[in-house]
């Protein structure tokens, strides 16, 4: 079953040229959302993150388009300014503070994934029978 799920995720890899981003996600805890743009072609999550050395960083990370992300449980009201989240992000190879989302964990523990190896499909697990 897992093999079939991985196979289903493969065609998504090339969409929008994700080569701009690192191969492994980094974890950032205690991120404070400053803006959530539910928009096409891809939605943006902006947040502040304080590093271990105390530096305050301003990040932007993308997720998919609203209709696609709605299938994974996201909505226009998922995030609001001031929400505290844990962000898992593939940072841009350019070194700037933008990235592609792996997943976010909301303050109540809800896990919302973007698409990657851990997301079998944007549309659920197996096709509905």
């Amino acid at each position: 079953m897992v093999a079939s799920l991985l196979a289903m995720s493969a065609p998504l890899a090339a969409h929008h040229g994700d080569a701009a981003y690192a191969d492994k996600p980094m974890e950032m805890k205690g991120c404070v959302v400053t803006e959530f743009d539910w928009m096409n072609p891809h939605s943006l999550i902006k947040f502040d993150y304080k590093t271990a050395s105390g530096e305050l960083q301003h990040w932007t990370m993308e997720i998919g388009s609203p209709p696609s992300m709605a299938l994974l449980g996201w909505s226009r009201t998922t995030l609001r300014a001031g929400d505290v989240i844990t962000a898992y992000v593939y940072q841009s190879k350019s070194g700037v503070l933008v990235g592609r989302t792996n997943k976010v964990i909301l303050a109540d523990g809800t896990v919302l994934a973007d698409r990657d190896d851990s997301t079998p499909s944007r549309y659920g697990t197996e096709p509905p029978k």
Binding site: V2, A19, N40, P67, G73, S92, V111
Partner: protein, 282 residues
């Protein structure tokens, strides 16, 4: 492996969350796919609202487009195209990705075949496409296709993003559409494959049963290709509540996306090439 299993759990939870919500007649539910064949196909009728293969994985897979054999002119134009799949948003010159230019026909039906409605009018069949909010008129009054489009003659018609289309019922269940006059600024395929204004695209729409239809598409364009080839076969399934959602390319949002995310992330075409050759990436 552990990530894949964890992801499966996440996705299942998400699907349950969506399905557990009370249904609204104003909402499109891609996961709420139709069951069964719904009985025999109505005769000479494609009318209704349909979910395409870009909508959910539940739609049956057809066949992808064949790889074309390009003429020297086709190769020359192709060499100037920088598709988003390799160059990313920052480096692509795909006019849709950079400027929200319409994908046009047939790419809108090949690449963004998510959902659509079909309406039958007295002298035409109209396709109302979800992505981009485009519509196509397919005339069924017997008129011939135009022979002069985009030329210098006074009687030459303007090229259009959706082209000029005529259709006829070959029998009770097969509707054949011929299209030409396509604006050359549009890309035929997502990889940048070009087409000429007088390309001839033929679609064969088959109403398989009440809940299923499919389309097989071919193109003949001697200016760009050495021989005709298939643009693929795509299935559509009846949408239970007959509602689809708005899905537009909004220029101001695209500009914001490019300025704040896509362009700063940069373009790494060589990395993408290595990835495509060495594995499937993340």
């Amino acid at each position: 492996m552990r990530n894949a299993v964890a992801g499966a759990v996440i996705a299942v939870c998400a699907a349950v969350m969506v399905s557990a919500q009370s249904k609204s007649p104003w909402v499109y539910y891609p996961l709420d796919t139709i069951q069964g064949d719904g009985g025999p196909a109505p005769k000479r009728d494609l009318s209704g609202t349909w979910a395409g293969p870009g909508s959910t994985d539940a739609i049956p897979r057809g066949a992808n487009a064949e790889r074309p054999s390009l003429t020297p002119l086709g190769q020359q134009i192709m060499s100037q195209r920088k598709p988003i799949g390799r160059y990313g948003p920052a480096g692509t010159n795909d006019p849709t990705a950079r400027y929200c230019d319409p994908l046009g026909f047939p790419l809108d039906f090949i690449y963004q075949n998510r959902a659509m409605s079909v309406a039958t009018m007295p002298n035409r069949v109209v396709f109302l496409h979800q992505f981009g909010g485009f519509w196509r008129e397919v005339w069924t009054d017997g008129r011939p296709l135009p022979t002069k489009v985009g030329g210098d003659d006074r009687d030459s018609l303007d090229p259009t993003y959706m082209g000029y289309s005529v259709g006829h019922w070959e029998d009770d269940y097969n509707f054949v559409i011929d299209t030409t006059g396509l604006d050359e600024r549009t890309w035929l395929l997502r990889d940048g494959t070009p087409h000429s204004v007088m390309a001839h695209v033929q679609e064969r729409w088959t109403r398989v049963d009440h809940n299923t239809m499919k389309v097989a598409m071919t193109i003949d364009d001697p200016k760009m290709f050495t021989k005709p080839f298939s643009l693929g076969t795509y299935y559509y399934r009846w949408v239970p509540n007959q509602k689809i959602n708005e899905w537009l390319c909004v220029p101001s949002e695209t500009l914001k996306y490019l300025q704040e995310q896509g362009d700063p992330a940069g373009s790494y075409p060589d990395a993408q090439q290595q990835r495509l050759g060495g594995g499937r990436g993340r």
